[in-house]
Each structure stands twice: as structure tokens, then as C-alpha cells.
């Protein structure tokens, strides 16, 4: 998987690049509009991460350029601007998703993967991890031979964990992923224990291995088989 990161904050770009590289993505990075346009003219990407406020112009223009080139890359806008106008303009110009800074890297990861899945029409609707098979269209989960019934939150949690396999997920990242904007109001993330516990026991009951590891004090981790 190859993604293009267009972001002028060096440190943030480095962190994103690191995170994606670690999960076997190829992540190219440019820090201005000009360089970004050069890149998209010459190469194809699976996904583009776009910051709107660039030193040499508005990121929206890159979206327009993509369209004029008839490119079909999925685009996720990552921006500090959160106005409704900005969002609408972004979506109108062909962006697929919008993530407001500051965000969790793990959240960005799961969104990128979901976007890539949606964009590939070649029938890859399945996320497979060892004996666990998730059909993202049917939203069904099979462990070995057994299908298991998950609640909406448990399902989202499972996908989130697998998308970020091998990475430590903080409780706040998990809570935000599960509750969306509502997570802003939470002052403790204790409710995720409940979902985590149920998910664990359902996977176990269906004969799956225990991949969910508690990282003391920090959060959870889906360990690589």
C-alpha cells in the first residue's frame, strides 16, 4: 500500500510516516502544494492524506488538480480547520473523509484502511487475521468455522484493533473511535473495559486465540500472531 502525505508540519509528518511505515505502508511525504502536484502527476497512490493549510496555497486546489487529472485516489483531509464550510467544500471537491487535528495516529490508520477497502472494487471485502475473518460489507465475523455475533461497538473495536495490529492503543484513542465526537465529553474511559471484555470472551468462545493484550497503564495491543 502506498500513501502520499501532504503536510507542512515536519514533526507531525514524521510521526505519521513512522506509524504507517511500521504497519507496512509505503508513505511518501511532501510539505507543499507544488511538490504534491508534481507527485500526483507522476505516480498513483492508494490514499492521499491532505492538510489544507499549506505554505504555498490551499490544499483544496490539490483536490481540484486530482479531479482534472481524472485520478481516483481516495483522499482524507487532515486539518485543524473544523468549520462546517471547510468540510462541505472538501467533500464537494472529492475528499472521502475528514479528520480534525489533533487526531490519534491509530484513528488515521483505521480510516485509511477503511478507505482503501472501499476503493478497491476487486472484491477484497475481507479483513483476515489468522483464524479471524471479517467481511466488512456484510459486517460478519467468522472465527475458524464459527460465525460470531458482535455488537456494533465490539465489531468496530475488533476492526480498530486489527487495523492497528502490533501497536499500543491508548484508552482515549479507543474511546474516541467508539464514540466519535461524543468522546469529547467523557472524563473516564472505563466503559471500554466492558466492550473489550465481551469481545475477548466471544472470540475465545468461538475458539480463537487471545490476541488482545493489556499494556499496563497505557491501553491495549493486538499482538501479531
Amino acid at each position: 500500500m502506498k500513501i502520499l502525505l501532504i503536510e507542512d508540519e515536519i514533526e507531525l509528518a514524521k510521526s505519521i510516516q513512522n506509524y504507517f511505515t511500521h504497519n507496512s505502508f509505503v508513505c511518501e511525504w511532501v510539505d507543499c502544494k507544488e511538490a504534491a502536484i508534481d507527485k500526483i502527476c507522476c505516480y498513483d497512490y492508494d490514499c492521499i492524506l491532505l492538510d489544507l493549510m499549506l505554505p504555498d496555497g490551499d490544499g483544496i486546489e490539490i483536490l481540484k488538480k486530482l479531479r482534472s487529472l481524472n485520478k481516483t485516489e481516495g483522499v482524507i483531509i487532515i486539518s485543524a480547520k473544523n468549520g462546517l464550510d471547510t468540510r462541505i467544500e472538501g467533500f464537494n471537491e472529492g475528499a472521502d473523509d475528514f479528520l480534525v487535528k489533533p487526531f490519534h495516529l491509530s484513528e488515521l490508520m483505521v480510516r485509511v484502511q477503511a478507505l482503501i477497502r472501499r476503493r478497491q472494487f476487486s472484491g477484497i471485502s475481507k479483513v483476515v487475521f489468522n483464524e479471524i475473518e471479517i467481511d466488512v460489507f456484510a459486517k460478519s465475523v467468522v472465527v475458524g468455522e464459527n460465525e460470531i455475533k458482535l455488537t456494533k461497538k465490539e465489531y468496530a473495536l475488533l476492526l480498530f484493533l486489527i487495523a492497528n495490529k502490533g501497536r499500543v492503543l491508548s484508552k482515549s484513542a479507543i474511546a474516541e473511535h467508539l464514540s466519535g465526537d461524543m468522546a469529547d465529553m467523557l472524563d473516564n474511559f472505563d466503559f471500554i473495559y466492558v466492550h473489550m471484555g465481551r469481545l475477548k470472551s466471544k472470540l475465545k468462545a468461538a475458539g480463537g486465540n487471545d490476541y488482545i493484550k493489556t499494556v499496563h497503564g497505557l491501553g491495549y495491543k493486538w499482538i501479531n500472531g
Binding site: Y19, P102, N188, G217
Partner: protein, 421 residues
């Protein structure tokens, strides 16, 4: 409450007028009396002179008896009683009126046919008590007319002349800095009122400008903070991935991570507050309050369950409001979260929806909250709590902006917030 300015002025005028009238009344009386006396004296002397000029040359001694018979007020008396003209006051008994009447009397020596006689004449004077009484009545009438006149003039003035002033006053009273109401002061023909409205306009415009730039500043600051915050967050997330993190470091990292969340939330709430101030939420529509509660109830029940809190929603009536849906959501969610946050273990939350109000009541601390601090920014009932201290001020702002009303009361160990739409 003081007195009305106009009344105050009127009373001063009236007081002064009455004082002057009272002081001048005796003086008036004295002057009138003097003029009268002088006039009477002059006419007596004139009468004497006429007698001396026209009658005396042909006057005979035998005429005296006849003369005295027909003239009551001019008599010729025998003898030389006075050496020269003498004028004095005296009283004569009036048989007809049965009283003593005051008179001014003139005695003057005359000579008829070589014999010396005394000319006597008198003129009836105004009786002193009569004069005093008429003066008293006259002055009372003046005072009464003054009072009545001033009363009506005051009423007319306060009604008409002061009308622009009261119009200005009304507008200023209703004006609120954080609301986007525009003031239009009336043009008046009175210079002072125009000056007043000009100064007020200037003052208000300047303050509105300052207020706006301040809330813009908050918005910009919150925005600018987002990028460094994003880097901070990403770096912490990277750090926790490291395999060589010790348990102690993990603890510190988790504290860092929690505080980033807090920081982020504060920033978001500040942004929200200033955006409500700047009226960025425009689109209004018909919203069902019941729907919003129904849609979010799962989320909140989940949160409540962690503390063993029971949530019950009562309300068969549907509650419709016209407002911006995002803001109504923020408002209701904040109140809901508040009821969970400040609750006790195994407590209760009741949400009561009526056709034009919603009440969140919850168990919690056994003491009522301080009313005036409730909606103030960053005032927390319990400093150890993790809330941003902005939740209720956001709620209040949304309530105010929509012209609704929020009340807090503490009853039967329940803290209740009611919004009346």
C-alpha cells in the same frame, strides 16, 4: 428608587415660589396700605382745597348749620382747634353697621367772615382684617394655581419631552454585549438627548468591537494551539509504541496522554464558545428534543452504567423547538453528561420532557450548588473533577442565544436543571 428628576425640579420650583409668595405677602400688604393712605390723604387735601377755592369765599356763618346737616364727611366746626393742617387715624362708630369703622381725618383751620373755624373732613378706610383676608385668599389662589399648573406641566414634560430619553433608556436596559442586537436611538429635537444617544452609540460600538475582537482572539488562539497539540499527541502516541518503555515511564506517559485529552477538550470547548458568540451556527430548523435524547441515550446509558446509575426518561409529549440542531445537541449532551459526572455511585437520573421544557434531575452532593457560580466559566463545584469547567457556560450561552430560560433547583436530594423553551 429615587424621585423622578422632573418631580424633584418641580418641587424645588414650587418650594421657592411659595417661599417668595409668603415673604412678599406682608410687604405687598404694607405697600398697598401705604399707597391707599397717601391717596386718601391727597383726596382729603384736594377736597379741602376745593372747598377753600369754590365754597369759602361766599360762605356765611349762618350756612354752617345747613352745611353740616347735609354733609356727613365734611363739617365745619366752631373754634380754633388746630393751628395748621392735621391728619390722623381714628374710629367712628357707624350706627347702621353697628361697628367702629376706621377713618382718616383732616383738621384744617379756616376763616369765615373773619371768625376762626375748623374744617373737618374724613374718609372711610379699608378695614385691616378685610384687606389681610383678601390678601391671604389671593395668595392662596396663586399658590394653588401654581401647584396645579406645575403638576400638569410636569406630566406633560415627562410624557412628551422626556420620551426620547426613556426610549434610549429602554434600549440600553435591554442591550446585551454578547448578543447581536443592534441599537437604534431615536432622533430628538433636544440637544442633550442627541448628545446622550451619540455618546452611548459610540460607547456601545467600541465595546462591541472590543468584545468581538476578544472572542475572535480566543478562536484564533484555540485554532493555533491545535497544530502543536496534534504534534504533541502524535509524539506521545509514538512513544507508547516503544518496546523499552518501563513501567514508571508508562505511568508518566499515561498521565501525559490523559492530559492531552483534557487540553484538547478545553480547546474545543473554547472554540465552541467563541463560535457561538460569533454566531457561526446559523441554520435553524424544527428539532424534536425527544429524538435527540433517544439517539444519544445508548451512549449515555453506557457511561451511566459504569457508575451504576439508573437513567429514566419520562415524557410522552413531544417537544419541538426551532433552533440550530448542533447547538441543541451540544446543550442536551452537556446537561446529560453533567448529570452523570456529578452523580454518586448507584444514583439516579430522571429526564422529564414536556411540550415546552426539559428537566434533568440527578442525585449527587447533599448540598445545593451555588446559583451565581453555576454558569461561570471555569468555576467547578469540585476542583478534582475532570470536566473542563465550561460545560454549563456553554449550555447557558446556547440557552441565552435562543431566548430560552434555564433554572437550577435542589429538591428532595435531587439537583435539577430545567430548560424552558
Amino acid at each position: 428608587m429615587g424621585k423622578e428628576l422632573l418631580n424633584k425640579i418641580s418641587w424645588v420650583y414650587i418650594g421657592y415660589s411659595v417661599l417668595i409668595l409668603l415673604v412678599l405677602a406682608p410687604l405687598f400688604y404694607y405697600v398697598i396700605d401705604e399707597i391707599n393712605l397717601e391717596d386718601v390723604e391727597e383726596s382729603m387735601i384736594l377736597r379741602r382745597d376745593e372747598f377753600v377755592t369754590y365754597n369759602l369765599p361766599e360762605f356765611k356763618v349762618e350756612d354752617i348749620q345747613k352745611w353740616n346737616e347735609f354733609n356727613r364727611d365734611v363739617k365745619i366746626q366752631p373754634g380754633n382747634e388746630v393751628a395748621k393742617d392735621t391728619v390722623f387715624h381714628t374710629y367712628f362708630y357707624d350706627e347702621l353697621a353697628d361697628e367702629n369703622e376706621p377713618y382718616l381725618v383732616l383738621y384744617s383751620p379756616i376763616t369765615i367772615e373773619g371768625k376762626e373755624f375748623t374744617y373737618f373732613t374724613r374718609i372711610d378706610l379699608v378695614e385691616t382684617p378685610d384687606l389681610v383676608m383678601s390678601f391671604v385668599w389671593l395668595f392662596l389662589l396663586v399658590i394653588v394655581l401654581l401647584l396645579i399648573g406645575l403638576f400638569f406641566i410636569t406630566r406633560y414634560l415627562s410624557g412628551r419631552l422626556w420620551q426620547p430619553f426613556f426610549e434610549i433608556l429602554k434600549q440600553v436596559e435591554q442591550f446585551e454585549l454578547d448578543k447581536t442586537t443592534t441599537l437604534s436611538f431615536p432622533q430628538s429635537t433636544i440637544q442633550e438627548f442627541n448628545q446622550l444617544s451619540r455618546s452611548l452609540e459610540k460607547l456601545i460600538n467600541k465595546n462591541t468591537l472590543i468584545y468581538k475582537s476578544q472572542s475572535e482572539f480566543i478562536e484564533n488562539a484555540a485554532h493555533e494551539l491545535q497544530t502543536p497539540l496534534a504534534i504533541f499527541k502524535a509524539k506521545v502516541e509514538e512513544l507508547i509504541q516503544r518496546e523499552d518503555v518501563t513501567e514508571g515511564q508508562a505511568k508518566e506517559l499515561s498521565i501525559l496522554s490523559n492530559n492531552i485529552v483534557r487540553f484538547e477538550r478545553l480547546n474545543k470547548n473554547l472554540l465552541l464558545l467563541s463560535r457561538i458568540d460569533n454566531d457561526t451556527f446559523e441554520g435553524k430548523g424544527k428539532i424534536q428534543v425527544n429524538d435527540i435524547i433517544a439517539r444519544s441515550i445508548d451512549f449515555f446509558e453506557e457511561q451511566a452504567a459504569v457508575k451504576g446509575i439508573k437513567v429514566s426518561v419520562i415524557g410522552a409529549e413531544s417537544c419541538d423547538v426551532m433552533a440550530n440542531i448542533d447547538l441543541v445537541e451540544v446543550m442536551l449532551h452537556n446537561l446529560f453528561m453533567n448529570a452523570i459526572r456529578h452523580n454518586i455511585l448507584d444514583g439516579d437520573i430522571n429526564i422529564h420532557i414536556q411540550s415546552n421544557s426539559i428537566t434533568f434531575s440527578n442525585t449527587g452532593h447533599q448540598t445545593p450548588l451555588e446559583q451565581e457560580k453555576l454558569f461561570r466559566r471555569f468555576s467547578k463545584g469540585n476542583p478534582s473533577q475532570k470536566g473542563t469547567g465550561l460545560g454549563l457556560s456553554i449550555v447557558k450561552k446556547i440557552v441565552d442565544q435562543n431566548g430560552w430560560q434555564i433554572d437550577y433547583n435542589y429538591n428532595n436530594c435531587l439537583h435539577a436543571f430545567t430548560i424552558k423553551f
